[in-house]
Amino acid sequence: MASFLARRLAGALMVLALVAVLVFVLTRLASGDPVALLLGDQATAADIARVRIEYGLDKPLPTQFALWLGQVLQGNLGDSLFLQRPVTQALLERAEPTLFLAGFSVFIAALIGIPCGTAAAVWRGHWADQVLSALAMLGASVPSFWLGLLFMQFFAVKLGWLPASGYGDPDTPLWERLQHLVLPSLVLGLLNSALIIRFTRASVLDILGEDYVRTARAKGLGERSILLHHVLRNALVPLVTVLGLTLALMIGGAVVTETVFNLPGVGNLVVRAVLRRDYPVIQGTLLVIAGIYVLINLAVDLLYTVVDPRIRLEAA
């Protein structure tokens, strides 16, 4: 067990390190000369040279990387070129809508996906299975921004049930702010339920073929009890991974939906940063989002070993 934990941790650390290298290299390739960008057109060559030394940009790349990583490990992601504040502060200010949106969407996706996937597996081959599987495939073919725009036109503009866009000021009550998240969460939840349906179906089908399900049937247990106690309990284990990773991917992947509904979230922050070439913000956001993904992945894996002792034994 201890060696499994150690190996898993080492693996995650290695991936994190690679993520840091990728983010650093990507943004360094991009920025060309960040100093010229920072100082604007009026800067003289002497100004640029002075600031280059000030920011350590005259040092070789590996040294720059080490310096940057040192800062990052102390929780310093640098300052935004345009927002007049540290990147960490900008991220924290934008975290609320993004985290709520990701959480609600995964919740909706699970609420739709797990029952539908289970039904599809139990009625495998039946027309209900075919309809559900077709719907799952449809969900993976719809662009989120397009569905978002249609929902907005219908539920907000035409019916006026919900606010169309924005998030309200920080001093509006939480309840009102959350209303702005209903439509975007529905869009992302519906589309992501496609993946959950497919996974639940495959997972339940796997378990239905196990010997212990046959044994349960042979000893005369009812189908409902078999499904609840023997099948679902086991099928849900791999689903934890999928749900966890979906949550992680949604934190950065909701960029498009956030833009459609004009939510002041992390995705919106990064899109604006890209349009203005605000490299410290791009760098910091990419690092944090990929970091969250790796950590959730690790957490889910560890949870897995707690829930399912077989994995511990196999890995040891």
């Binding site: 990507l26 390739l29 921004f145 725009l149 249609l150 503009v157 950065g252 833009t259």
Partner: protein, 280 residues
């Protein structure tokens, strides 16, 4: 009977798969032939016909500049299919190479796969945005960015399948007979990867079309003057409340194409070699 023919017959025995394939063929044929079929210019503006409803003259209505939406969808298909096609082929070629190396050579496995893990910890669209920001927004840079985004996915699938194949008897036999490693990979492993690779090809084709549309929507994709399905929706966004058709029909084109591609991919997956079914 010819074995290829036999496989195709099994594939198309499911009518959904046949319908999806026919639809895709139709889209491809129309997209390729449209310059010869009609001389109408998709960017021809007609200010007197702004935001007209769908009618006999304009099947899908007109947009805010009086351009025919249906005509633009057909021309958009050329670019959307080009982007999806080149991206999927590029990602599959690169990903297969990496996956083969990682799956066959134990020493390369860990480093390559950690790199794949690292790249896959960025959400597709976010990595796409960052890469386009670096490369600059142009048609081919979007394609390059999407190839980089989807290569790790192919590499992971191909590696998993190669790990299984590597241990099979016929590969052992080839090795024992002294067949050189490159030839084993080319002649014995690669042909058996055909099905998972084909599946990935169709899925990535669909994802690339969706992702390009998302990037264009965010304004960090293909330049707006090129009519892809994504840029069409992005460009006419502000008129959606008065003229829903300007975003409805290009979106439907995306949905139908992506859905058909995935149905085809799923059909191919069902024909997979049972030995690989678990791995893929």
């Amino acid at each position: 009977m010819n074995p290829t023919w036999k496989i195709l017959r099994r594939l198309f025995a499911r009518r959904v798969v046949l319908a999806a394939t026919l639809l895709l063929l139709a889209v491809v044929v129309v997209a390729v032939l449209v310059p010869w079929l009609s001389s109408a210019d998709p960017s021809a503006m007609d200010i007197s016909a702004r935001l007209h409803k769908p009618s006999g003259e304009h099947w899908a209505g007109t947009d805010e500049l009086g351009r025919d939406v249906a005509l633009r969808i057909v021309h958009g298909a050329r670019y959307s299919l080009l982007i999806g096609g080149v991206t999927s082929v590029g990602a599959v070629l690169l990903g297969t190479l990496l996956g083969l190396l990682a799956g066959y050579f134990r020493r390369l496995d860990a480093p390559l796969m950690r790199l794949v893990d690292a790249m896959m910890s960025f959400p597709d669209i976010l990595l796409g945005i960052a890469l386009v920001a670096i490369l600059g927004p142009s048609l081919w840079n979007v394609v390059l960015a999407l190839v980089i985004v989807y290569t790790p996915r192919v590499a992971r699938v191909v590696r998993a399948a190669t790990l299984v194949l590597r241990e099979l008897l016929f590969v052992d036999a080839a090795r024992a007979l002294g067949v050189r490693t490159p030839w084993i990979l080319w002649r014995h492993i690669l042909p058996n990867l055909a099905s998972p690779i084909l599946v990935q090809l169709t899925f990535i084709f669909a994802y690339a079309i969706l992702c390009e549309a998302g990037l264009s929507f965010l304004g960090v994709g293909v330049p707006p003057e090129i009519p892809t399905w994504g840029t069409m929706i992005a460009g006419s966004l502000d008129y959606a409340d008065r003229a829903l058709w300007v975003i409805l029909y290009p979106g439907l084109a995306i949905v139908l194409t992506a859905l058909s591609l995935q149905i085809l991919g799923d059909g191919v997956r069902d024909l997979l070699d049972p030995k690989l079914r678990k791995a893929a």
